[in-house]
């Protein structure tokens, strides 16, 4: 079943057309890699799909519904969650608070429950804490829970972003360069985490320049060039495509 269907998406900044009628789909249970030369429009495409940028034309459907132009918080609640290329952990909050923040449907986030300190609020917070602790342990951040997120290393920040996104129990996770600036050991760890999440039923769409790791991980590659989908298919087939090689070698 198609989980994400992007059709004819277009977005320009002034005269620069960053995304120029991109169409592709992601099926449930897949890991799809998105590659392309710098400036191909990958991040802009992510921004349009996740609601951060408005698209000029085209449609985005998620989980059987048209979500074109939906607000980011709405998409996140429906299960479409993204991370950012430059990690954006909330540095002025603790690691645990970072992971607790996304807790969906938290009564304690409504003023009345917060002030009255209702049982529902405390109950939800306790459950959220358990889940957060589990996630932090999974990503080897358990001992850092009380630490301010600003004190984490680059690699740990990547892990924190992943743990935080998973708190929303997403159906589809969009990862923007999860291996950028990460050492080889950690890259292997993150790749293993992605595989095990996928085995548990999570669908992923990953932008990445680190092709070696990516091609070993994904079921399918989508190649973007000049804001358009150039080719799509299994990694070995796509990597031998003349047009793809040309695009990468600056043809």
């Amino acid at each position: 079943m198609t989980l994400l269907d992007v059709d004819g998406l277009r977005r320009s900044f002034g005269r620069l057309v960053a995304v120029d009628g991109a169409s592709f789909e992601v099926r449930e249970g897949e890991i799809v890699g998105m590659i392309g030369p710098n400036g191909a429009g990958k991040t802009t495409l992510f921004d349009c799909v996740s609601g951060i940028l408005r698209s000029d034309a085209g449609t985005v459907s998620f989980d059987g519904r048209d979500v074109t132009g939906a607000a980011p918080h709405e998409l996140a609640r429906r299960g479409l969650v993204r991370t950012f290329q430059q990690t954006r952990e909330l540095t002025t909050m603790s690691v645990e608070e970072n992971v607790l923040l996304p807790t969906p449907d938290h009564p304690g986030e409504r003023a009345v429950h917060a002030v009255a300190r209702t049982g529902a609020h405390r109950e939800r917070e306790r459950a959220a804490r358990e889940r957060a602790t589990d996630l932090l342990e999974t990503f080897d951040l358990g001992s850092m829970a009380e630490e301010y997120a600003g004190n984490l290393s680059g690699g740990q920040r990547k892990l924190l972003e992943l743990a935080r996104a998973l708190m929303l129990d997403p159906k589809l996770l969009l990862l923007d360069e999860p291996f950028a600036g990460v050492n080889p050991t950690l890259t292997a760890n993150i790749a293993a985490s992605i595989e095990s999440l996928n085995e548990d039923g999570l669908t992923l769409l990953i932008i990445e320049h680190e092709l070696e790791t990516l091609t070993g991980l994904v079921d399918r590659l989508v190649v973007l060039a000049d804001g358009r989908v150039l080719a799509t298919g299994p990694p070995d087939q796509v990597m031998e495509d003349e047009r793809v090689i040309d695009a990468y070698l600056g043809g």
Binding site: G51, A76, R77, L90, G108, A111, R164
Partner: protein, 345 residues
């Protein structure tokens, strides 16, 4: 959070109990009559508890959520003048509808909330700094309207003959009226502190601090950022409006002198010195600033050969110096937490 924030007292409960007690005290024939020389200290006490109300709202807006409201005085003035216009009986050269005081209280707070909603709807979807500019402008506009429509507001003279519900119920003269006002308004301020602290210490406060740190990330993690910012602006407006109503009801008059930019400056400096985001710290900061005012007035009495103007100037110099010292050596404020301070501010 500092140790100061972890004292095992529930301010909400204590504030509510004190409020009920202070109202009962009003209805009782009893009163406290302080000696005459303490009046000016107590007068400043009234101003302090009124400013604390404004400050609690401002700290929720700026300290916790990162919303830069440079015009708290606008909401304070709109609350105060609305209440005065509705309740004053035949004020000199102005409009007074002579309605009962509870109407003035309710509509005064609502008017401040309305202004907050207007400002919020217009600016909160734009970049952060727009709120700062607009609130600064709104404060000037409100001030200008009060000066311009002098047949309605009484212009520089203001509105007299406004009901004084608290002093009227006290009996026992001027000193007792001030004490009763401090008790009632002070317990309300404590209650407001308690309620807002519960808000900021809960997952609600976590969302606010996340918005302060990175709005867009908070949005992509499923939070309705605009709604939170809007409501925070409203809550702060309501408190500032309430403060304005209470201050006008205490004075039995509304005057443009109550609502100058000094109000904004005093609460902002108090908040920055105490430590924006620390619910108790900001009140400590306000106490320091207003303590300066008291100190200079006391000194003024002792040293009659130094003029009042000179003392006022000296006070401004001292406050400026303190602010500079705090920003230089402890930018997070005396009771603030450096780790929670935004890197760019």
């Amino acid at each position: 959070m500092s140790r100061l924030e972890r004292l095992p007292v529930d301010a909400t409960g204590v504030g509510l109990a004190l409020f009920v007690l202070s109202v009962l005290f009003l209805y009782s024939p009893l009163f406290v009559s302080p000696p005459g020389w303490t009046f000016f200290v107590l007068e400043l006490g009234v101003l302090f508890v009124v400013y604390v109300l404004i400050l609690i709202g401002l700290n929720l807006q700026f300290g916790h959520t990162g919303l830069t409201n440079f015009g708290p005085v606008a909401f304070f003035a709109v609350g105060g003048y609305t209440a005065a216009l509705l309740t004053a009986r035949d004020p000199y050269g102005a409009v007074g509808l002579g309605m009962p005081w509870p109407v003035g209280l309710g509509v005064g707070v609502l008017a401040a909330v309305g202004l907050g909603a207007l400002v919020g709807a217009a600016t909160l979807r734009l970049r952060d700094d727009f709120l700062a500019i607009v609130t600064l402008a709104v404060a000037e506009i409100v001030h200008g309207l009060i000066e311009t429509f002098r047949t309605v507001t009484g212009g520089p003279i203001g509105l007299q003959n406004v009901p004084r519900p608290i002093p009227d119920m006290t009996g026992g003269g001027g000193g007792a009226e001030i004490v009763s006002t401090i008790l009632v308004v002070g317990s309300l301020a404590l209650l407001a502190y308690g309620v807002f602290h519960r808000l900021t210490a809960s997952p609600y406060g976590r969302v606010l601090r996340a918005i302060r740190a990175d709005e867009q990330v908070t949005e992509t993690l499923g939070k309705r950022v605009f709604r939170y910012k809007f409501m925070v602006l409203i809550y702060g407006s309501a408190l500032a409006g309430l403060a304005g109503v209470l201050y006008v009801f205490y004075n039995g008059a509304a005057s443009p002198l109550f609502f100058t930019i000094d109000v904004t400056v005093t609460v902002w400096i108090g908040m920055l010195i105490g430590g924006a985001g620390s619910d108790r710290g900001v009140i400590g900061g306000l106490a320091i600033i207003m303590g300066f005012r008291l100190l200079t007035r006391l000194l003024n009495q002792e040293l009659p050969f130094v003029g009042q103007d000179q003392f006022a100037s000296a006070r401004i110099l001292l406050v400026g110096l303190l602010l500079m010292l705090v920003i230089r050596y402890r930018p997070e404020g005396i009771w603030g937490d450096a780790r929670e301070r935004r890197a760019e501010s």
